[in-house]
Symmetry: D2
Subunit: 439 residues, 4 copies
């Protein structure tokens, strides 16, 4: 049932590249088969609940601008249900297969743990019904451990164990809700798991808290039989000065430290990557190579602004490379492309929310076609393979296998008085190659 906020938005259909209808897909033809799978199966798009249906357009310098009807008063049960109806109406019109949510996004506000449990539970029933009606599935669930004042100094990493207990309650219930709703992943984003001030912080103690907490989550997942993937979402800072899960490499080290590298993967966000000083594709490549790639929060930052802008992506080259490396790594298993993106504060109309999603979906579909063409062509992959071919035999292979030690390798250099040959990295050639496939 729709309440009508999106009633002017038509069902978005594929109309092909020549269409100039902004309420259509030019590239996203969900049943089109690319490299043996449909676009829908490859891209596994999800709409996020928080930015699209909860945020009212406020920022740190000003009040909300959107005036969505369900945001008018308190976040009570009626408002939660109104929001649910509109959300599923909108997602249905987009025709994407998944959504994602935090516990507090979907439920009436709760003042105590007992209320929280009850209010969430009521809504999980209703969400389950909606999912049944619409066929929309859950990509992942999560718990919001950062918005309530109690979490001002962190959830699992709070100096006060009472807060960690509150967090445990939320995570337990959100994980179980995700399990019941057949979610394919469960995400932990460390919103305030970090510090504002190093002076008052026992970093090592907080890391131990976080490591133990994450182990508890993994143990509980197994206990309840949840088969989905547990994911950590890296971010370097904001809202905190320093967030512990800085980037893929940092999360990897953390997982190794607490024995979780085979249990937990990463949810890479484009804007978080760039805030951490990495390109989006770097984080994907690295996650692949460290064996922890899980899912993606798709968005973009503003290259001239130093905070998380969570804009809808519009850089075709960047997304083409992202999809290329995801495909190179085998594509998504339980993960997908969640749009952790919000329309700008001046984009106050229902149709703006539609433009944001349609543009991003279409861009990603176009990127998939580009990436698939690059994979079919194969030249980029071959270039890299050839570049490292020397390591397959000779001293290179012996060094990697352990057959040569430092002295042995050094002696080889001295005995043969070697003079390695300069060889171009062909960066401009390769960049032109990618440009040619970016269309």
């Amino acid at each position: 049932m729709s309440r009508g906020y999106f009633s002017d938005i038509p069902k978005i259909e594929f109309k092909g590249p020549e269409s100039s209808d902004p309420f259509s897909y030019q590239y996203y033809d969900k049943d089109r088969v690319v490299l043996g799978k449909t676009m829908e199966e490859h891209l596994r798009f999800a709409v996020c609940y928080w930015h699209s249906f909860c945020w009212d357009g406020f920022d740190i310098f000003g009040a909300g601008t959107f005036e969505r009807p369900w945001q008018a008063g308190e976040l009570d049960q009626e408002a939660a249900e109104h929001k649910l109806d509109e959300a599923f109406d909108f997602i249905s019109k987009l025709g994407v297969p998944f959504f994602c949510f935090h516990d507090v996004d979907v439920m009436a506000a709760a003042a105590t743990p007992q209320e929280h449990v009850k209010n969430l539970s009521v809504m999980v029933d209703k969400i389950e019904d909606k999912m049944g009606e619409t066929g929309i599935k859950l990509l992942w669930g999560t718990a919001n451990l950062f918005s309530h004042p109690r979490y001002m100094a962190g959830g699992a990493t709070n100096p006060d164990p009472e807060v960690a207990a509150y967090a445990a309650m939320q995570v337990r219930n959100a994980l179980e809700a995700t399990h019941r709703l057949k979610g394919e992943n469960y995400v932990l984003w460390g919103g305030r798991e970090g510090y504002d001030c190093a002076l008052n912080t026992a970093i090592g103690h907080e890391l131990d808290q976080l490591g133990r907490f994450l182990n508890m989550v993994v143990e509980h997942k197994h206990k309840i039989g949840f088969k989905g993937t547990v994911l950590i979402e890296p971010k370097p800072h904001e809202p905190t000065k320093h967030q512990y899960d800085v980037d893929v490499a940092t999360v990897y080290g953390f997982l190794k430290r607490y024995g979780l590298e085979d249990e937990v993967k990463v949810n890479v966000e484009a804007n978080h990557a760039t805030l951490a000083g990495h390109s989006f594709e770097h984080e994907i490549q690295l996650a692949n190579d460290l064996g922890v790639f899980g899912s993606v929060d798709l968005n973009r930052g503003d290259p001239q602004n130093g905070w998380d802008t969570d804009q809808f992506p519009n850089d075709l080259r960047e997304i083409t490379l992202a999809v290329y490396y995801i495909l190179q790594g085998g594509g998504f298993e339980t993960g997908g492309f969640n749009f952790d993106a919000k329309v700008r504060r001046q984009s106050v109309d229902a149709e703006d929310l539609c433009h944001g999603h349609v543009g991003a979906i279409d861009l990603t579909a176009r990127a998939l076609l580009n990436a698939a063409a690059m994979i079919e062509d194969g030249a980029l992959e071959r270039f890299v393979e050839d570049r490292y071919a020397g390591w397959k035999s000779g001293v290179g292979a012996k060094m990697l296998s352990g057959d040569l030690d430092l002295a042995g390798l050094a002696d080889y250099a001295v005995d043969n008085n070697i003079a390695p040959v300069r060889k171009s990295g062909r960066q401009e050639y390769l960049e032109n190659y990618v440009t040619r496939f970016t269309k």
Copy 2:
């Protein structure tokens, strides 16, 4: 024997806080005992060879400005010896106990591996003599695997194993030279161990190369009986777009991945920390808490410029906190404060090199006095201890010990319908506290 370049520079003596003589120490009184050790023992200052004696003042937009006499022609044996004489004359005048060097800093230029071995060997003898004459010791040695064109695509991570063999030769010989000169550490800074272009790079393959190479270094260290510490120096980028040893957390993960976390520690550089988006003290605290703190390259970046400026430190608050956390972690063992800092390109005179070092030495000595006062006062440490006191008993302790699982902790929250109490983090109070001790 001096060649006279520094002949106008007097021996720098401690003259006390009231002195306005720029060629004296106001605070660095090397025999003064602070917290049970002399200043010299605490601070373990080292002068670096490369910035102070090799760099001629060039930058990417212009030629060298310094015109040091030994830089006039080719870097032949005579130039290398001239440089050595001047370097030890300068370090002696400063009265600091250590120096640091790269292989190519001290030797005549070599065109082949065999020449390299020979040219380095000749100079190691001469350095040994100098050390004997002056009493100056070696804090650490290292090999330069980034300046020669052969290393344009990396040393150990080069796509060409011949280059890795060349690197192995340099590292073997530099490590053995360090051992012979009784160096207390051996450093690896991954100058070009990273990539300029992700398109032509097999990141995972290069990480495996690097992991194996580092294991080879550690094995060789044990084989030759070197008791010093092997150190990795993190840096996020520059000269490469992306350097693998991004920061302390990344290096930690790398060490865990390749089984080296008990063998290798980090050499934290202030300017590298800030380029990676961290405060200097963050990197020290984190290295302490991860058990990998080793040594420090002391300098500073320019907060408005986005590259490695390697300036001499002048922020007393920053260095006070750095020394505080180093002392909190037990102080240096084999490490020390190496000035990886260079005078500005316009600072063309011999005396400028002196001003740079004297200012930095004095600032750090002053920071030591501040940090010691904070430690003796104890209020900061007590504040942090109190803040986490809740974790020593109750559900906090049970969570950490594993006696409570997620459901148990969540049930505690629900059953007691808990309402955690808001508690101030007192950031401004603590910052004022540090200000009070910064004098």
Copy 3:
């Protein structure tokens, strides 16, 4: 009349450098004479209304944490009066001479222009009374043209002239209120005078709107006989992607373009300076040299975070240099040091607000002592004067006076076959000099 929120905060008194009482000044002795004026006269401290009394601790990721009693419900007349009582109680306890405010900070929320006029007017009376009772004066007033949704696309630069009319109403009334309250300046900060998206923006048109609007303000100031200074506060971005008043140099060009360079000065904010890629002291020096220095919003950013953190300053060296250059420029005339700073979101207690201010006041007083000592010593000023002495005669003087043209100056070089002498810039020496005076 106090309502008691700050009742546990004592009146802050000067107790001298040896005091460790956090509720005392160690350095700020308001009647102490330094360089011929009292500290109070030099520093002209102001407490800002918005961060200290209006902000409830919310950020973009979470709700308010402070729970100040007057923030509990709607911002009605009663809340406005409660806030006023508490604000003046707090400022009185600090013993600083000034405050600053936006129109909407002090008044009950208004839904229409007519309500706005009325609600502001009522409070201006009450503020006037408070000022009379306490002796606290107004450093500057301003109008908030960014928080209400109507301003989402700017105030004076809005594509809709109706919004500019609304802005004109607010500015007229805020300027007149400032005049009546004997404010010494009127500030315009271009909160959303900029753009989020260049695609939908006519930059030149918006600049013309802003230029005309500012001229209208200046004309009105003269019409009503306001003798205070009109100030623009530069900021490069946030909340907008691009704010027109980027930095001092940009504002200067804007004033020149619209014929206002003799009418309007700048209010330099430390954190805005660094966000624009400049040091705080650069902006002060440049404003001095361009003849537009007016006032200061004192705070600091976080060097590792890319947004406006508005923290209380704690870098003694930075503030010492800032005060030094302000004194070099003749000191404040109508301007002063307004603390545009907020305590951290975890600093939830009344006493935290006190710690923030006391620390910043004391730091600035200490900086004044340092700066005065540097001015009395005179070595820094003499160094600079000597460095440029060559321009007072010879070809330098002739070039500046216009007596030599390009060919004449070039001929001088060729005819004399000149070889300019390399001369050290002595950066490290000068930095050490500043360090010596930073105590």
Copy 4:
């Protein structure tokens, strides 16, 4: 005459979008007419001498890698002529109409002013011959006032007027050479016109030096009858900590201050724009709107690195918008697209230089087609026009014309108790529109 370095590079021909020959243009068909002009006339491409033929691949951490034959020994007359032959051979093969140079790029190294005059003069004759032979024209000339140690503290802004005299000699001769070679512009880039250290710098004095110097250049231009445009190229920092010509807005204010706004325009560089915290298209739009747009240095920075990387552009969307706004402003008059870009240090082969240029030329041609399509479609322009339509009549028009003053506009708001209507900025819609045209 070619010396053969580029002998394996074929003449680059247009082969159409389906071509996969990396030594062909897919889009740049120089005689193709777009919006009434040929591609060649629109784009006015220039190859720069310095990055392409002078730089040997060195960076701050390592020696040159390119081993171009003319770079082997000293930069004597023979090397200069060799370089000239190769440069014109390469530019001819690309088939672009222009080149750009600094005085020292083309000539034998000179130790004195008299040698400088002579060595430059000899080469200007030879360049003139080459231009006659090949038909290649000069887009602009300039003087290098930053590489020689004498310029370490600036050229025109040096504390020593002797250095300014040397600079005057170079600029006079470079300007006259540009005039003789029928260059269409003369550029001044303030390489070291700024400061490394504010402590030793009289900013206002240096600005006055620079203002007078620029006036001298303009006067000389008129004296010798040079009809080309004088251009300043903004950059915020690097090599200096702070460069005076920060960005377009700063240069505009500088020109106004020294009465030059009608005489001098700007040469916008993409990478300098982003280092200054602006988008490339922002700087173009602003230069258009301030009436100072002149020419473009086309390149890109690395969004994750904080220094000037001067890479060849490869972001089709960015360049599409840049070309769109250039066309909106009327297109180039005397300016053009100069590739101030260098291949990466690992791109050591002759063909890499070709790949860099071909990719950039083709990308820009493709961007022209996209931009032209957007202009022909007209929807973006109409959107902006409609958005500001309210200012053409009513209170908006009266405010702009001066018919309404602040009180009048404020009264309008109050009397009508206005309630401006929220109107979407349609950012996502417009971004999707641009995406659709980016192909």
